[in-house]
Each structure stands twice: as C-alpha cells, then as structure tokens.
C-alpha cells in the first residue's frame, strides 16, 4: 500500500496529499477542482552544484564535468523514436524543463488530456537514450545557449560575484558549464549520472490543478518501475570561510554600470532553515526595500533606478545576501548600503518598520498560492529543502522583531563582502 498523508492549512482553506509511492517516488498532489488547467513537475535532487558525489553502495567519490546536469536535462527529451516534444504535440500540453543549482525538473502544463501528458512525462524521464552522436549534436545547441548568456549582463554580474566569493563551491560555475567542460561529456557520463540521480527515491512528482490523487496514482501505478533505494550524498566542498577577492569588473555592451554586492556567510550546517530565510527576507526589506529610508535616498539622488533589489541567495552549502541594480556609481551605493547595515546593527530595528514589512511579505506569500505552476514548483523546492508548503505562512504569523534582530547580528559581515560590476564597453 502507498503511504498517504494530508497536509492542511485552515487559513488558506487548502490542502494537499503527500504519497510515498511503492516505487520509492514521493508524489504530491494539490487538487484545485475549480481550475481548468493542471501543472505537473517531475524533479530530481540533482543540479549544477553536484559535480562530485558519493552513493551509498560505493565508496569512491565520483567527479563529473561542469554542466552535466543541464546537459542531461536537454538530452532526456530524446528517445530512439519520437522525442518528448513530438509526443506532447499530440496532447496539446506545453512542456519544458529547467536545471538549477540543486535540482533538475521536467514539467508540463495543460488544460486537457492531463492523464495522457502525465504518462508521457513519467515515461520519458524513466527512459534515457543517449548516443555519442546525439551528445555531439547537443554540444552545438548548448554551446549557443552558453554564448547567449555571455551577453546577458545580469547573469554575468552574478556569476562574476560568485567567483570572487567562493573558492571551491561549484555554485561559482555557470549552470550550463563552459564550452570546454561540456566538450568532455560523453554518453557514458550521462548514463552514469542518470543511473545515480534519477533513482525514484531521489525524485519527486508534484502536481497541482484540476486533477485528483486517484487519477495521478492510476498513471503512477502503471508507469513507475520500483527503484533500488540508493542514497546519494553531496560531498563536503571544503569551502574556506574567506572570500577570494573583494572586487571584480568586466566590460559588456550596457548603457549603465550594473552591480551585485554580496555578503558571504559561513555555517556549520549546509542548509538554512525556513525561519532563517524568512528573517533574512524581512531584514532585506527593512534595509533596502522600497519603503526604506535608504531606498528613498538613493532613488532621489539618482544613484539607483527601479531595477534595484535584494535577495537571499542560498542553497546546499552556500548562503549570500545580494544587493543588485544599475547605478552610475556602484561604489557609492555599496558604501551607503554598508553604512545603513552598520546603523541598524547599532541602533536596532524600529517595531513599526518590522510590522509593515512583515504584513507586506505575508500578503505576497498568500499571493504565491494562486497559480498552479508556482504551487507545483514550490512543492518540489519545499520537499527537497525539508519543509512543507504552508510552513511559510505560519512562520510569517509567528516571527518576532527579536528573531529578526538576532539574525542581523550574524549576517552581512563587511569583511566578507565583495562587489561585482559590469561596465559599459
């Protein structure tokens, strides 16, 4: 029997079901019977940072070329006869896939023929077909994808920053790898990675929309082949606490300089809790959100424009606070942000500011439970991170000013900050 749990939230009036399927796969179903469409995403806990790993049935650490996870994502769409896109063409679903730092996901959305599309998804992801010839063909396509990103300033400014913050952690490498690294990928590399990471015990299927648990299980029972439970361990990246450098610049065809200011963080454990993440988001809004005094000042003085923003950039083994934007004077903006952080560390945070920001972010969180695509993608992320989808609402309700102030004391250490700038060519 499959093991089924219901997860509810009274405030939202929503619930979803989490099923540990006999095959080893975790299946999550969030029904929205009054919607027309459905969205399904089938993901593995394997992304660009997994360039070295160890499995529970072997002792050695295996190292693979950078960009392999993304390459595999491209190639999985192919099979010996019809590729996945040709099959979806018959159901009308829109299909896609993405690779992030720590996961690879295959997805489709549809307003009809849900079961047929789900069959295609479960089937093609479980049937790899790689040959040396198809691998070579893809090197040309992905080579162009990598080149395309070389002209995207927001992408370059981020990866340049990560390169001067991190010595070893593979987060410093472009998700797609490099033209040189992908040249080393062979059909064998792909099969090795596939057989390791595409084990159903390492994967999740999340579905949201106009469907039911029964409908999903009917397809799953037919198509899923039980996998041996092999545990994959991420390696310790031996990342030093210090940063590599505190400044980097590059010239590209842009109108105005773009910048990313990052503050690296170091922890004993590889993952940040939901509460740590939420406290940080509240902090960032208080420091530099569009209701903050700092934002008003920089904006009025012409030092930033509407592209300015901040994020908590975190995943397995990395955590960095990033402020990003366009400015004629990135160094001045950096200085002012650092001063504001210092001021808040000394003077503390005003209760009214905290409450305003908390209310705003709470509203934004509720907005996130609207669309089937964001729900399904969040379900996968939350599962891999180890919490439930509705936990966020609860944390926003219970978080206090003291929590946020305590968080501030251990974040945004000036000695671990670095600035990345793209200058007009």
């Amino acid at each position: 029997m499959n093991n089924i749990t219901e997860i509810k939230n009274n405030l939202l009036g929503d619930s979803y079901f989490k099923i540990k399927h006999n095959s080893g796969l975790t299946i999550i179903v969030f029904s929205k019977s009054d919607y027309t469409s459905s969205y399904a995403v089938f993901g593995t806990n394997y992304g660009s940072i997994d360039t070295a790993f160890k499995t529970s049935d072997k002792n050695e650490i295996i190292t693979i070329p950078e960009g392999t996870a993304h390459f595999l994502e491209h190639k999985l769409f192919e099979s010996e006869d019809l590729d996945a896109f040709e099959r979806y063409a018959k159901t009308g679903a829109s299909a896609n896939a993405y690779t992030s730092f720590d996961k690879t996901c295959y997805l489709f959305s549809c307003s009809g023929n849900f079961k047929e599309s789900l069959e295609i998804l479960l089937d093609f992801v479980q049937h790899p077909y790689f040959t040396q010839q198809t691998v070579q063909k893809e090197q040309g396509i992905i080579g162009q994808e990598i080149k395309m990103y070389e002209d995207v300033p927001d992408w370059k400014v981020l990866f340049n920053l990560l390169k001067i913050l991190y010595h070893k952690h593979p987060v410093r490498i472009d998700i797609a790898g490099t033209v040189e690294s992908i040249a080393q990928i062979s059909d064998k590399t792909l099969y090795d990675c596939y057989n390791t990471f595409y084990n159903l015990n390492n994967m999740v299927l999340a579905v949201a929309g106009n469907t039911t648990v029964d409908e999903v299980l009917e397809v799953a029972d037919r198509l899923l082949k039980p996998s041996k439970d092999i545990k994959v361990e991420r390696t310790n990246y031996d990342e030093p606490c210090e940063i590599v450098n505190d400044y980097i610049e590059q010239k590209l065809s842009v109108f105005m300089p773009q910048f990313n200011l990052g503050f690296k963080e170091n922890y004993e454990t590889p993952k940040r809790s939901l509460k740590e993440q939420i406290c940080t988001r509240i902090l960032l809004e208080i420091i530099a959100g569009d209701t903050s005094p700092l934002y008003k000042e920089l904006f009025s003085q012409g030092l930033i424009n509407t592209s300015f923003g901040s994020e908590y950039f975190t995943g397995y083994g990395f955590a960095t606070v990033i402020f990003a934007g366009e400015s004629k004077d990135p160094r001045e903006v950096t200085q002012r942000i650092k001063e504001e952080i210092k001021r808040l560390k000394t003077n503390g945070i005003n209760e009214a500011d905290f409450q305003r920001v908390r209310k705003m972010l709470y509203g934004r969180t509720i907005m996130g439970y609207n669309d089937v695509d964001s729900i399904a993608n969040e379900l996968i992320s939350c599962h891999f991170e180890g919490f439930e989808l509705f936990d966020e609402v609860d944390v926003f309700k219970s978080v206090t000013l003291l929590d946020v102030e305590q968080r501030l004391t251990r974040q945004m250490d000036e000695s671990l900050s670095a600035l990345s700038v793209i200058l007009p060519a």
Partner: protein
C-alpha cells in the same frame, strides 16, 4: 455572470471588463488607457511612471509604498506597451482577496480607490506636475530606453521593427525616444495627462471577488467632470505585402549574433481566414514541435532558440534566432526555406493537429490566473468586438490544410536584420 468576461460600457469610450470568480487568493484591478501611437509617445510613456509614484494624498513614494505595504503588500505596476499602433498606458494592482485580511476590511475597494487617487488626483499644482518628480522620472525613462540595449534579444527585435516600419507609426518605440523625453516639461506632461483622460479609450479590468458595481460607480464619478465627447480614433495601418527586401547589419561588442527576420502576414485581424494565420505562424515557429525549432535548432544544431511570433494587430510575423555570425546565411536560407515548405503545402496532418491542440490548450489556460485574465482583457481593448479565448478556439479548431497554405502564401519577406559582434577587419 461568474467565470466569464463581462463588458459594461459606463461612459463614452470607457468600459469595464470584469471577470467575477472566487477561485483565486488574489484579485487584480487594472486601469488601461489607449491612444494612437504617434508624436506624443514620450509624454504618454512617462505618465504611468509619474502617476504610479505619488498622488495628492500620498505625495511621495515612501508614503505611497507604506500605504501599499499596509494593503498587505498590494503590488502596483505601471507599464506602457503597444497593441498595433495604439500606445497603451497602464496601471495595475494585485491584492490579496478580502477573506485573508486580518480584520475583514475590503481590499478591492481600497485598492480601487487608491488607483483612482493616483490617476485622477496626481501630485500636481497649478497645471503642472511636481518638478523634481518629473526630473527623476525623465532620468528613469531615459535609462529605461537606453537599457533596452542590455537585453540583446529585445534590442535586435526592436531595431528590426524600427527599420521595417520606419514609415509607419508602428516603428515608434512605445517608450518614446531620447529627444522626446528630454524635451518634456512638468506643464507639457500635465497637458498630456488631461488629454489622456479626455480622449483616451479607457478600459478598467477587474478580476476576482470584487463588488463590480461599486467600482464602476467609483470610476464613473471620477470621470463625471471630464468632457468625453472627443474620443481618439485608433487605427493600425497594415501593409499587405513587402515591396523589396531590406537587409541591415549592425554591430555591437557582443558574443552571439542576433538574427531577426520580419515578414508581412498579408492579412488583417478582421479577415475571415485569420484563424488560419494563427495556426500557420504556429506551425512555422510557435513551439518546440514547429518547423523552425525542429529544423534550425534540432536538425542543424545552429542555435539555442529560433521562433516565429505573429503580431496580430499589425499583421507581421517576426522570426528571432541567436546564431554565430558565420552561420548567418545558412540560417536565413533555412528559415526562408521552411516558410516555402509551408507555402507548398509540405507539412503533415500531425503538424496541423499539433498546432491546433497546442494553441487551444494555451487559450483554455488563460482563465487560471488573474494576471492572464487581465492581460486577455487588455489585449481586446482596441478590438472592434471583444473576443473570449473560447471565441478564438472556435476560429482555429477547424482550420483546414488548404487554409494554412493560403495563409502562408500571403506571407512576404520584408526585412532581415543581423546584430553581430565587432570585428576589426570588418570595419569600413
């Protein structure tokens, strides 16, 4: 009626497009004003950004943002865009549904009032907007225009449109241009604002569980003192076939070349066969099952993306691809060849079926997010008659192969634009 589009005309040139539903956790209200795209583009373009930043009641953006935060992080977004040769000025708001408010307050109504305050009672005095605000927004708009260059795909597409439509209003950038923005004054923008309210075609979209009648009354009252007897006529000039092929090469310091090919579709949206044009453009390059993706990307391995998009109001089709400069001729030849195959009827029943199924599926998904419903209402605002997604499904569902061929044969090549990296030896 629940779960369908309802159009109510509330005054001359002013309508409310509502979609009542309680499926969503959020609601959305947008205020859209359309005027002919023309000489005054820069002044129109700056307005939503000025109106979105403050108003008489919240005279600076920190006060306004604090108010939005109080409304549970209601998101206010200004934008300018073009639908054919209409320039559309737009302010939209997303808010959480009333049932999630801590004290049962009505957020729809408060948000609608705030939107009206922004639009009808801006931060202005004696026939002029606030000078320092205007200066700030001029700077931001200039930066926005210049920053289009940062995204090379967008930039190349815009350049191709400009070149292809240089003698048509459509060639005007919806953000205006540098000279136009620099010449703006607090008074001239104020005059433009008054003109918009008097002459613009207005549509207010409301999605969610709001009391539509209350919002209609609100809008009607705000317009009560504004003369609405001289509404702009919005028409888009459609060139049915290209005369000679324009070919332009430009250079910037970039790594990957951007190829854009512009075609005239040879048909207007009012034509009976328009459903077939949608299907034809989709078989050509709308999705991963389309000819361009399957051949130029998958078979020839020339690029990461190669797609075609139909701009229905203007009757043009734009193909875009990111390629190496050395593959330029190869890609152009193959893209034109794929069109020729369509014109010769060399596509199979499966390709036709795939396009119809794909387009239909996408259309039926519009009703599942407030943003898509709002965007649909917006897309119809300059149409002669409002069409729902289902109406479009009906137009495409029974398209026959001969109609696709007929549509493809009307397509003519107009402009080939290539943006590539700078190479010393190629400089003249």
């Amino acid at each position: 009626m629940e779960n369908s589009f309802n159009i109510t005309k509330i005054a001359n040139g002013i309508s409310v497009c509502s979609y009542n539903t309680n499926r969503f956790k959020t609601g959305r209200i947008s205020f859209n004003i359309a005027v002919p795209l023309g000489d005054n583009a820069s002044a129109n373009a700056i307005l939503p950004y000025i109106l979105n930043r403050s108003c008489g009641k919240y005279p600076d953006f920190s006060k306004l943002n604090a108010r939005l935060a109080e409304l549970y992080g209601a998101a206010l977004t200004p934008s300018v865009s073009k639908i054919g040769e209409a320039q559309v000025i737009r302010l939209s708001m997303t808010m959480i549904d009333d049932r999630f408010a801590f004290e049962n307050e009505s957020l729809y109504q408060q948000c609608a009032e705030l939107l009206c305050d922004l639009i009808f009672e801006p931060n202005a005095e004696n026939g002029s907007f606030n000078e320092s605000e205007v200066n700030r927004e001029k700077r931001l708009l200039l930066e926005r225009i210049e920053s289009e260059k940062n995204d090379k795909r967008v930039y190349a597409l815009r350049r191709c449109e400009e070149i292809m439509c240089e003698n048509e209003q459509y060639g005007i950038n919806c953000y205006g241009d540098t000279h136009g923005v620099e010449a703006l004054t607090p008074q001239s923008i104020f005059d433009t604002w008054q003109d918009l309210l008097r002459k613009g075609v207005v549509q207010v979209n409301i999605v969610g569980n709001a009391d539509v009648d209350v919002i209609c009354e609100l809008v009607k009252n705000r317009f009560a003192k504004i003369p609405r007897d001289e509404i702009s006529n919005i028409n888009t000039k459609i060139i049915k076939s290209a005369k000679e092929v324009k070919r332009i090469n430009e250079q910037l310091p970039i790594n990957q070349g951007k190829l854009v090919i512009g075609y005239r579709a040879g048909i207007t949206e009012q034509d009976e066969n328009f459903g077939a044009v949608r299907v034809m453009a989709d078989i050509f390059g709308g999705a991963p099952y389309s000819k361009l993706f399957v051949n130029v990307r998958e078979k020839m391995s020339l690029c990461y993306y190669c797609s075609a998009r139909l701009y229905r109001k203007k009757g043009i089709i734009m193909v875009q691809s990111g390629i190496e400069k050395e593959n330029e001729e190869k890609a152009i030849t193959e893209i034109n060849n794929q069109l020729k195959l369509l014109q010769n009827g060399e596509f199979i029943q499966d390709e036709l079926k795939a396009s119809i199924a794909g387009l239909k599926d996408t259309l039926m998904r519009v009703s599942d997010t407030p943003e898509d419903i709002d965007a649909w209402g917006y897309s119809q605002m300059t149409a002669n008659a409002f069409k729902s997604p289902q109406d479009i499904v009906n137009e495409i569902e029974n398209v026959e192969p001969h109609q696709v061929i007929e549509a493809a044969r009307k397509v003519t090549l107009d402009t080939i634009y290539m943006l590539s990296g700078e190479e010393g030896e190629e400089n003249e």
